[in-house]
Symmetry: C2
Subunit: 235 residues, 2 copies
Amino acid sequence: MSEPVQALFFDVFGTLVDWRTGIASEAKRILSQHNKSTDWLAFADAWRGEYQPGMEEVRSGRIPFSKLDVLHRLNLERILSRFGLQDLPEAVRAELNLAWHRLPAWSDVPFALGRLRQKFRLAPVSNGNISLMADLARHNNFVWDAILGAEVAGDYKPKPRVYLAACEAFDLPPQRCIMVAAHSYDLQAAAECGLRTAHTARTDEYGAGTGEAAPKVKVDYAAKNLAALADQLGC
Amino acid sequence: MSEPVQALFFDVFGTLVDWRTGIASEAKRILSQHNKSTDWLAFADAWRGEYQPGMEEVRSGRIPFSKLDVLHRLNLERILSRFGLQDLPEAVRAELNLAWHRLPAWSDVPFALGRLRQKFRLAPVSNGNISLMADLARHNNFVWDAILGAEVAGDYKPKPRVYLAACEAFDLPPQRCIMVAAHSYDLQAAAECGLRTAHTARTDEYGAGTGEAAPKVKVDYAAKNLAALADQLGC
């Protein structure tokens, strides 16, 4: 731990923003106007359930890199009929797909990011595309030094290229960067690339008590939330 | 002009920041400590003089994409002996090369960007690399929605790919984006890609009265500076 850390990279979905209640409430808001009703949390879970299989098509090389908005739309098409939504007009599908651009931050995040930015370069290293990250930043008052991650790397986490491209963009060796995430698989992949790692607990990600309360892998820092991580990092 | 503009893209060197006096003063500051003295403005001009030939190696395909920091360093090596600086130690050369990360904004820029950001997505679409743009943003209080440009596109302006990659990153057709620059060649290339264009005069770029006082090509907007452009765009 001799070399000082200079940058923090952040997972976003689940770690910084609450995708589950965010998607549920946006879907309810948009689709209620079209007289649709369903179990909105189940709808959010089903849409998110297609997330990893969708990206695996890219990671495996079966399809060329496509930004997450495109995969989200394909994933949406897969689940609509399960919720009686197969007759939604194109414009409504397009609007619904942008619900991911309006997710709310966990309450501790905006202020803690401000504290962390006093000391470190900050960037999202998410699988979300650049415009999605830019919109989430505006929506939640996140101030980033740059938007890095999947679209800049041309592949999806947990492929090593995504973490390494982020370090390279900031001219830093991996050991001077910390990957921050609420998911152990993400931190393990980052650690295998040489980055340091910080786990933040998001126990309510899939509903109360469902998230990782503690890391399942060895990490450099483990905190109950981002404010606690800022404390640990001396910010 | 029926479709509303949603994003502004900015050239940076010369348009937003004063590279010439910035490089001259940083070179003087760093090299005076090593008892070096020369014509610092001439030094800045010589270093910048290698800029287009350096990028042309990439644009032509003779060398793979290399970020601008790398080209700046190669360009520095080419000019040192002209200024009696051929014996600089490696650490000083490396420090000097980062002078580009600390250039000062023209005085009207930070406040005008803040005004423009109330209405538009903003991103640099510069040939500078991501870390260079991130450092200039911190140094000058620029708030960007994302850092786009050469490193994200993998090529250098005025190649079309750079402008088009920026539009794609923001999910926008080119006609909904304005390229802002003090250089007509940059605006002409952007216009050929379908972007709208705005010229800002920077008459002192290479010394008093040397810069383009007005565009040499047809543009959608022409302004004496960025504050005047914000006025024209109703911000």
